[in-house]
């Protein structure tokens, strides 16, 4: 119970931080925000790593393995495509 309450504190506070920070992102950057957020949601990779590794490999290992693939696609693809987009946002003088 105590851990759950503690987790709930973290959850609620993070939600407030999220709303504060993200409401300041201008509409111009909403697409990169979304793909960047996608990459961050790939954090579930951390959970997948723990699930995938076991002494005796049962079904859990294989489930974890697929989870790792999905999450890594999100992380790597998400950050790379966000960078590709943000690189294109330039001022007048920035070109070349």
């Amino acid at each position: 119970m105590e851990t759950f309450i503690f987790n709930l504190f973290i959850f609620i506070l993070a939600a407030f931080v999220g709303f504060e920070v993200i409401s300041k992102v201008p509409p111009t950057l909403h697409t990169p925000l979304m793909s960047g957020a996608n990459a961050i949601s790939g954090i579930t990779l951390v959970g997948a790593l723990i699930v995938a590794s076991h002494v005796v490999c049962t079904i859990t290992c294989y489930i974890g393995f697929v989870a790792i693939i999905f999450a890594t696609i999100n992380v790597v693809g998400g950050f790379m495509v966000t960078d590709r987009m943000l690189e294109m946002f330039k001022k007048k003088g920035d070109e070349q």
Binding site: G18, M34, A39, T58
Partner: protein, 472 residues
């Protein structure tokens, strides 16, 4: 024992891991903070990826991790696929890619919850962990199938129109109640794997049934909502694993998606429930007011006239819609804008929140065509400027400039916030023909006193305008 960790320091490792997770969370928040301006955004993305890197790296020292062959193989496969997708995707296809990523994120979280379930099957569960497991599994699986349907619709595989069958609202509601019942049964009797499997199956089904009835025009809302759900699924997985980094990052993503969802709903003047259950676009187009328009005529303008109008203007505002991207005219419009600027004209772009196929899509497409970002103005910023604008060029946009949204309570788009282009001295609308737009609604703007039509393909029309400007 984790083979990476010498026994002498094994006791300190859990604390080191937690502190590194704290650092990673801070880097994510700082990274998102830097997204508040295009000038700092790229470094923000770097910070966030650094946070991800150290978060993942330090996890490898967790004492529960004892073998690496699956980890190495999985990360290698995922990284190659991710990198290829990120490099190959066209900017016009960004909504498809984001949908795909939404789906993968949801699937990963659902799988983590399932993996934990099967891993701990021999140990007694706490009720809270079980509850979190169901939530993570349910949201993750629903997001996966929902995103795949959204992807199919955006890609055109499934056809953009809503798929509706009689009583679909009742079916969806019944399925939701069924999930709740099984969730309770599962928490009471976790040993019984049938419950777990039934919940998974129902969640996958609900994802499909929820997105199928939603029309192509509403996809920006759906993508945003699914984006939020992937975050929440990751957050719930954090509750299962008691992992703060997952909870914090997942919740940040959840808030981001929710904010975007609300912005999109507001921009389309429709409550979220209406988008999810309304099946907008399936209804036959309204009367359209053809009778009232019968006597009205439109004025046409030629490239030569327009080149004079714009070249001697003080300010020109360009209002692009997705039609501009369909016609691949982003580069020509930028050349026209450059030409006008060289003649001393103040050129700006006014962008409606639903101009593209996802939030901020049009801005990315224009940035790709080397339009400098200080020229891109949001709806609220540019709406104050139209009174001081000489010429507005409306290209590939229709409903977002329709004054009926302001004036005609019987119009289906009444109340939707629009760009008030009719306040400018003159408005030139680039259009293929007089056919009504996407939503099938007549646009009074075309018949306005200060409105001029420029008929033809957007790219060709802009090309001839550019030519005339050069000859001026």
């Amino acid at each position: 024992m984790n083979p990476l960790v010498p026994e002498a320091i094994a006791d300190y490792i859990p604390n080191v891991i937690q502190l590194t997770y704290l650092l990673a969370s801070v880097l994510f928040i700082l990274g998102l903070k830097r997204l508040s301006s295009p000038a700092t955004a790229r470094s923000g993305n770097m910070l966030a990826s650094l946070g991800m890197f150290i978060g993942v790296l330090v996890t490898l020292f967790d004492r529960n991790i004892v073998s690496f062959q699956f980890i190495v193989a999985g990360v290698a496969i995922g990284a190659v696929i991710g990198a290829i997708l990120a490099r190959k995707v066209k900017m016009t296809s960004m909504p498809e890619l984001v949908s795909l990523f939404n789906g993968f994120g949801g699937a990963a979280s659902a799988l983590v919850a399932s993996g934990e379930y099967f891993r701990l099957a021999s140990e007694p569960f706490g009720e809270h962990e079980l509850g979190a497991m169901v939530v993570s599994l349910f949201i993750g699986a629903l997001t996966f199938t929902g995103s795949m349907i959204a992807f199919g619709k955006l890609k055109g595989i499934l056809g953009g129109s809503p798929v509706v069958y009689p009583g679909y609202k009742i079916v969806n509601t019944a399925l939701m109640i069924l999930v709740l019942v099984f969730a309770v049964l599962f928490v009471l009797d976790a040993e019984n794997r049938i419950f777990f499997l039934v919940i998974s199956g129902l969640a996958l089904l609900i994802g499909i049934l929820m997105v199928l009835p939603i029309g192509g025009a509403d996809m920006p809302v759906v993508i945003s909502l699914l984006n939020s759900l992937t975050g929440l699924a990751a957050s719930a997985a954090g509750f299962v694993l008691n992992n703060n980094l997952l909870i914090i990052s997942g919740t940040l993503v959840g808030s981001a998606g929710l904010i975007l969802t609300m912005i999109m709903c507001k921009a389309m003047n429709r409550p979220l429930t209406n988008v999810l259950f309304g099946a907008f676009g399936s209804e036959a187009a309204g009367p359209g007011g053809t009778a009232a328009d019968a006597g009205k005529t439109v004025k046409e303008v030629t490239a030569e006239d327009l080149s004079v109008m714009t070249a001697y203007a003080q300010r020109v505002v360009i209002v692009p819609g997705y039609g501009l991207a369909v016609a691949q005219a982003q580069h020509v419009i930028r050349e026209v804008a450059d030409m006008l600027e060289s003649k001393g004209v103040d050129v700006r772009y006014g962008i409606h929140p639903v101009a593209g196929r996802m939030p901020g899509h049009m801005n990315v497409l224009l940035a790709e065509a080397n339009v400098p970002y200080p020229q891109l103005y949001d709806m609220d910023e540019i709406n104050q400027e139209f009174k001081k604008t000489d010429v507005v060029l409306v290209i590939g946009a229709n409903d977002v400039v329709n004054p009926d949204a302001r004036n005609d309570p019987s119009s289906p788009i009444y109340g939707m916030p629009i760009l008030n282009v009719d306040e400018a001295k003159s408005v030139v609308i680039f259009k293929r023909s007089m056919n009504p737009g996407f939503a099938g609604i007549e646009n009074q703007l075309f018949f306005g006193e200060n409105s001029y039509m420029f008929f033809g393909d957007a790219k060709e029309s802009l090309g001839s305008l550019l030519q005339s400007l050069k000859e001026l």
